[in-house]
Amino acid sequence: MILKYTYRTLITFSTQVSSHTFMLRCTPYANEYQRLIEHKTSVIPNCLLTRSNDTFGSILETGYVADMHDAFMFESTGIIEIGNNRSIEKVNPLFHYHSELTTPDMAIRDAARLIGMDMSVTEWVMRLSDYLQGHFQYESGATNVKTTASEAFSLGKGVCQDYAHIAIAMCREVGIAARYVNGFMIGEGATHAWIEYHDGERWLGFDPTNNRPVDDTYIKIAHGRDFNDCSINRGRFNGIAEQNIKVTLMVEQLKKLPKEQTKQIKNQ
């Protein structure tokens, strides 16, 4: 599928700030099933953006705004072709080990054991997801970015990040390599989180929040051990200011790829 996306974050500060350093992870991941046709990241105030890959291959853009400013905007826009959402990338053993936000407690361990073992990996992940649908409730505001899998699980409610963390914790607990994915999804107005698990041959995406396998309507931005490895934006500045953050995301399908459209985006 060919998708056109525009993601924008606008932060307004209540007072002027300066010496603002930031790190963005907002460019789609490049791999065998995600082909970037067009992409552009822009920031305001304008500054030098340097690009690199983090240790998991996600694309990082970093910058520094020395001067006073009272707003910061970054935008990631482009056209991407998505394939079947599976990857034959080798398993980094690290994804077998628990990480800070996914360390399970007794309750998660017990829940993972209850699912049983006599089935394929993919079946197991589906059952896990079914289980979550019955025992975990979507509720925004109940948790925050620091909430661990165990905390969310005992609370019984949370958002996509929490679904993903709990699912990862349970997978790793029974020996399935799993990782956290942050990205865009058609029809969602903000970033979404899901998981990838390794079935012995390939990495496959699964969305525990929506209880369905990930398909070509999902754009992967970053993956890592847990949310901490995937933040879309981290910043640090001088000045004491309240921040007002406004996020917009548009993902739409393009039936085909008209030449004009490509050009237009290039010139934006």
Binding site: T21, M23, T55, T62, N228, N238
Partner: protein, 439 residues
Amino acid sequence: MYTRLLTQKDAVNKWMERYGVRFGIYKNGTFKEQIFPFDAIPRVISNSDWTELEKGLKQRVDALNAFLRDIYTEKRIIKDGVVPEDFVYSSKGYLPQCEGITPSKGIFSHISGIDLVQAEDGTWYVLEDNLRIPSGASYPMIARQLTRKASPETFDGAKVFDNRDYARMIREMMDHVNVDNGLEVILTPGRYNSAFFEHSYLAEKAGVVLAFPDDLFVDGDKVYYKGLFNERERVGAIYRRLSDEYLDPMTFERSSLLGVPNLFQAYAKGNVAIVNALGNGVADDKGIYYFVPKMVEYYLNEKPILKNAPTYLPFYEKDRNYVLENLHKLVIKDVAEAGGYGVMFGRDMDEKRLEEVKELVRTQPRRWIAQEVINFIDLEIMEGDERVMRKADLRAFVVSGKETKVWPSGLTRFTRDPKSFVVNSSQGGGFKDTWVMAE
């Protein structure tokens, strides 16, 4: 040899006070500064003992550096089955962000603080490798400076290795790893750090800039020092006295107010040397310690000169059974702790405690190591006007730049509690100068 020095001990302690030789500790959540008590009787290490120690220390640190290079690239030592994968991936000190990064000149541990004890029979045992930010070198430096001042005649006859060149060793090492001939700085988290005295003292002696986190910033993947008038000066080497997790809030602990944002990116691109490198915690983890003699054989193809204390890893079933049966006579250590916290002697535990700890060993085997108790030697210290015997260890400092060099001195720490084996300064111990004899 040092009797005259003893008559000067009050003068020396007064000077220390004036210099602000203090040691800060956190107790019950509040920061307290206390004097790090100095004992005027030096520890004396004979030249022949030292020659052997020096060889062993160089060898050990070279192997540890080889291990770090390997772990963050090929991981041959795991593939060859010498170190189990678990000890790397579940170590708190392992930083996946460092994968594939080779620091400037390939050196990870530039300054290593190796903790040793000497047993009654004269054998030296390594108790721990400190490869992150080992502190304490300034104490014997300043002690020597002051004792020289108070009693110059003491050193006239005694053939003691001069220890004043530590700062020069640090400086040469920094020059060696410096990227693009930039500024060299010691990065201190600030004056409320327990070792702030040391940071400022070393900066002064080594002739490098003492920088606070706000003095540095990163732009275009390069690190700059902000001058008084906001002019920028490129930084080539940072001797940071700030632990990995607080060094860069963009890559590590996001709440850290002490770090330099995006410093990690500059480092990953090879635009700055960081002393010591990031990710060293994987090699000085108490669990990994067990494997260090094996590293010497694996990487250097040599017989290890220095011994580890006999150590058991409950991770291995055989060791676990031994530990469960013999806990009452062993030392058990929590691999995640430092500063003497989490070090427990089985002989001090009652039945109930022994059972509790055994249960922890059974349920979380990877979290513990156990050792035979080394009955290490007592040294004489002055308590008032009386000479008493107390347990003491030695932290030797090894500096790896162009070559690996051992500083012919070291920090001798002793316990003031006659019943205790734990000498850590955070547990109220004191220190001595360490005299290495030149002949």
